[in-house]
Amino acid sequence: MTRSYRWNSRISNGHPMRILTSVAAALVVCSCLALCVAPTVAQTTAEWERLSAEKSLGNPKAPIKMIVYDDYECPVCGKLYEQTLRPLIDDYVASGKVYLVHRDFPLTIHLYSRQAARWVDAAARIGKFEAVERTLFDNQMAWSEYGTENPKGIIRPIVQAALTPAEFKRVERLMQGCESNSQNEIKGCAVDTGIQRDLAEGELLPVRGTPTILISAHGQQYPPMQGAISWPILRQFFDRLLSQE
């Protein structure tokens, strides 16, 4: 007689009350586990949402929401930032028409993109996201592996130049245990939790490359767009969306 058959026969031969008691006990155990795990999940989600808000620009109640999945080392992301996102930030984000959300999607093929994302995320935690993001994209050629300047992968002085000494000290403290880590090693780096959550969210979409743009307006979400889109063309689409009101 096999073990499973013996188990089945034991259940079927058992008293109905005994079976009910076992089921109730199992339910109680599951509920206790759920109650223990739920606050942790909720806490992580709340923390991620708070960080996500720090990595966003504009009015959260703006009629258009645009999420950009970026890799700081990807040249097309740099092009998108310089040629499209900057005029967008100065114009439509500043005037409250667009809420721009940044999500990290460091690709494993890039040597320093995760390290760059860590610096930006650490800066976001002290409310300095915009300044550090801007300086990393502005100086992409100085630190990225595709850059023309040497030494590559040295992000620290670039971030330092964009912040006050006090701000940089706070960011440095948050970056403890992160700088020595390799691209894909996430142990001991607290800043990585937000990046991992962004990655997980992106993979659900699914994000297949960077940059990926997700636009929603009036409760309607549009399919993800990939690649660099020039500002006049993006503005044309936004104007159409805004004229729908």
């Binding site: 993800p224 690649g227 020039s230 006049p232 063309i233 689409f237 159409r240 969306l241």
Partner: protein
């Protein structure tokens, strides 16, 4: 196989190829003109209004722009013209009207698509194809598909011209000699 049976087989293949190309062009036009936020082939996706059309066109312009091939000034007119061109070619292919010229125009358009897809793939552009609607990845499969469609376009064009020429030959052979030439 006799000459006449080969001819009728060729005509059948021409008809099938023409219909296949018509379906491809109509599906491509639908993918670009339908409301982009609706589920493809759903009832909501068939509710094409002037407002949704304007949004679909500008959304498609972003996909055209992501190819980084045209200057922004040229992107919008191209994106506005392409879906209607595809729709027109699809309808004309379906009707079989002026088949030689319509199939030639279709093949030229397919050649353009194939060249653009090859270029983007060679440049490792991580973009959406935008061929049959949004969120369609441009990958090796796109190359194979567009290559096949281009080959089909060439076959249909050659068949359309060959059959028309044979028909003209047959007509001239069966018609009585010209009175002046007979004299």
């Amino acid at each position: 196989m006799t000459l006449s049976s080969r001819w009728s087989a060729g005509r059948l293949l021409l008809q099938l190829g023409r219909l296949a190309l018509a379906v491809v062009f109509l599906a491509a036009a639908y993918g670009k003109l339908r409301p982009q936020n609706a589920v493809p082939w759903s009832l909501a996706s068939l509710k094409i209004t002037p407002t949704s059309l304007g949004l679909s066109m500008t959304f498609f312009a972003m996909q055209v722009d992501s190819y980084q091939l045209l200057p922004p000034r040229a992107v919008s007119p191209f994106a506005h013209a392409l879906p209607w061109t595809e729709l027109g070619l699809g309808v004309l292919l379906l009707a079989g009207f002026a088949l030689r010229y319509v199939s030639l125009a279709s093949t030229l358009l397919l050649a353009l698509f194939y060249a653009v897809v090859i270029r983007s793939y060679a440049l490792h552009l991580t973009i959406n194809c935008g061929c049959f609607g949004p969120n369609e990845k441009l990958d090796a499969w796109t190359l194979v598909r567009d290559g096949f469609l281009f080959a089909l376009g060439i076959a249909v064009t050659i068949a359309a011209f060959t059959i028309q020429r044979r028909r003209c030959h047959a007509l001239s052979a069966s018609s009585p000699p010209h009175p002046e030439r007979a004299v």
